[in-house]
């Protein structure tokens, strides 16, 4: 039987920074670790380092896309200069409210990862597909049928056999679900 869970409220002092390191849902101040969420306290023991103390609210975790995160999005409008997308998933967790993002034309590359910033001047997240694992995952041809990738840059429609250019992603096997 698991030991009874310890619940804490925001602002509750958990322990000092010498005994543990702060994980998610906590913050440090004056050499002590305080809780930042109303939830369950979790202590993870690492072998070499100090245990990590974090507060978990298991029902929802409101994620915001961070810089460097792999996101799954759906294109909502296309321009000659950029494409506007709705960011749906961050990693493998779905977002509750969709965020908007932009993929500029020059960011759709095969190599050379750009420096993407959250953008002080822009109001959208900037995305890039500059890696092998990033790119188009699902696409529909003009006939409305889902296309099959045939090379790094092309996808073919199985019904009309027309080829269209897309930057195809090589999805890692752990993300594929059958």
């Amino acid at each position: 039987m698991a030991p009874p869970a310890r619940y804490c409220v925001p602002g509750e002092r958990l322990c000092s920074t010498e005994e543990a390191t702060a994980g998610s849902g906590t913050y440090t101040r004056h050499g002590f670790i305080f809780s930042s969420l109303a939830g369950c306290l979790e202590r993870k023991n690492e072998d070499n380092e100090l245990p990590v103390v974090s507060v978990v609210r298991d029902s929802e975790s409101q994620l915001l896309p961070n810089v460097g995160a792999v996101v799954t999005c759906k294109v909502c409008s296309i321009n000659s200069r950029f494409a506007k997308v709705h960011i749906l998933y961050v990693g493998s967790t779905p977002l509750k409210s969709t965020f908007r993002g932009t993929i500029r034309k020059e960011d759709i590359r095969a190599t050379e990862k750009d420096k993407i910033s959250l953008g002080d001047a822009q109001s959208n997240y900037l995305l890039s597909t500059a890696e092998n694992e990033l790119g188009v995952v699902v696409a529909r041809s003009e006939a409305g049928v889902q296309m099959v990738p045939i090379s790094w840059c092309e996808m073919q429609c199985p019904r009309t056999h027309t080829k269209e250019f897309r930057k195809v992603a090589r999805v890692q096997p752990q993300f594929l679900q059958t």
Binding site: P10, A38, R57
Partner: protein
């Protein structure tokens, strides 16, 4: 006379309503005379707080004070905002039409809306230091407070309820904000009283509302004014208010813990 079925006929006998109105007026007279002497200025009213009761909002809280003030507050977690920069907290404060005793001046008047806007700005000032807005860049957090019944110290109860609702919604916070109200009656050498009831607040010469972050021991908002006397009196009032906040904190904390346990045991559909 034949019965007229198209009209609603009133009762056969009727009595003037003044018979019953007189009883209420007598109660008020009694309060004015005996209330000031009988009340202990440092006594806190009984506080009831419950978090996590609305299903349509991500976080919610209900706070009720013994004097009859009832505040219901709902909070929504980060949603995308168009403006760049750190996250923003949007507060809204509404008085229900039935909240005050007696007739309203004119429903929907500009003065009412102005008072609501001021209260919303005060709420925002009290809550902003408590929320970790830096963790939610470019997001918008919304808090909406509804005052169901005004029995005095409404803004203080709204601050506590809003902090509970935000914590219940899973928003990362530095601490819970606890609100406490004080007032000073117009008698010349009167002392400050904690958590005034509605008649006391109406007759007060000076009012003060405090918002405190108890675990960090930081004051997040001091609002109020009036003819309070020398500055030492105000300092003493502040100390009294801070003490009142510290005494209310365990109740709010307990309600939040219970809500977290309830959330854990019944996973949301």
């Amino acid at each position: 006379m034949p019965l007229d079925h198209r009209r609603l006929r009133g009762p056969e006998e009727s009595q003037p309503p003044a018979l019953w109105a007189a009883a209420a007026a007598e109660d008020e007279e009694d309060e004015k005379g005996a209330g000031a002497a009988a009340r202990d200025p440092c006594a806190l009213r009984p506080l009831f707080a419950r978090a996590g009761l609305l299903s349509q909002a991500q976080g919610s809280a209900y706070v009720e004070l013994g004097s009859g003030t009832k505040v219901l507050c709902a909070a929504w977690g980060p949603r995308e905002a168009a403006e760049p920069g750190p996250g923003r907290l949007i507060c809204e404060f509404r008085r229900a039409p039935f909240a005050g005793r007696g007739a309203r001046g004119r429903p929907g008047a500009a003065a009412e809306r102005e008072a609501e806007r001021e209260a919303a700005a005060a709420l925002r000032e009290a809550l902003e230091p408590a929320v970790r807005l830096g963790r939610y860049p470019r997001a918008r957090l919304a808090v909406s407070a509804l005052l169901l019944q005004d029995g005095g110290s409404a803004l203080a109860a709204a601050v506590s309820a809003a902090a509970l609702a935000l914590a219940d919604a899973g928003v990362e916070m530095y601490d819970l904000a606890v609100g406490c109200a004080l007032c000073r009656p117009p008698a010349p050498a009167a002392s400050w009283m904690l958590q005034p009831a509605e008649p006391e607040e109406r007759r007060a010469a000076a009012r003060l509302t405090l918002a405190l972050l108890p675990a960090l021991n930081q004051v997040s908002a001091v609002l109020g004014g009036g003819r309070g006397g020398p500055p030492e009196d105000w300092a003493q009032a502040l100390r009294l208010g801070l003490d009142g906040c510290h005494r209310q904190y365990p109740v709010l904390r307990q309600s939040l813990l219970r809500a977290a346990q309830r959330r854990r045991s019944t996973p949301p559909s």
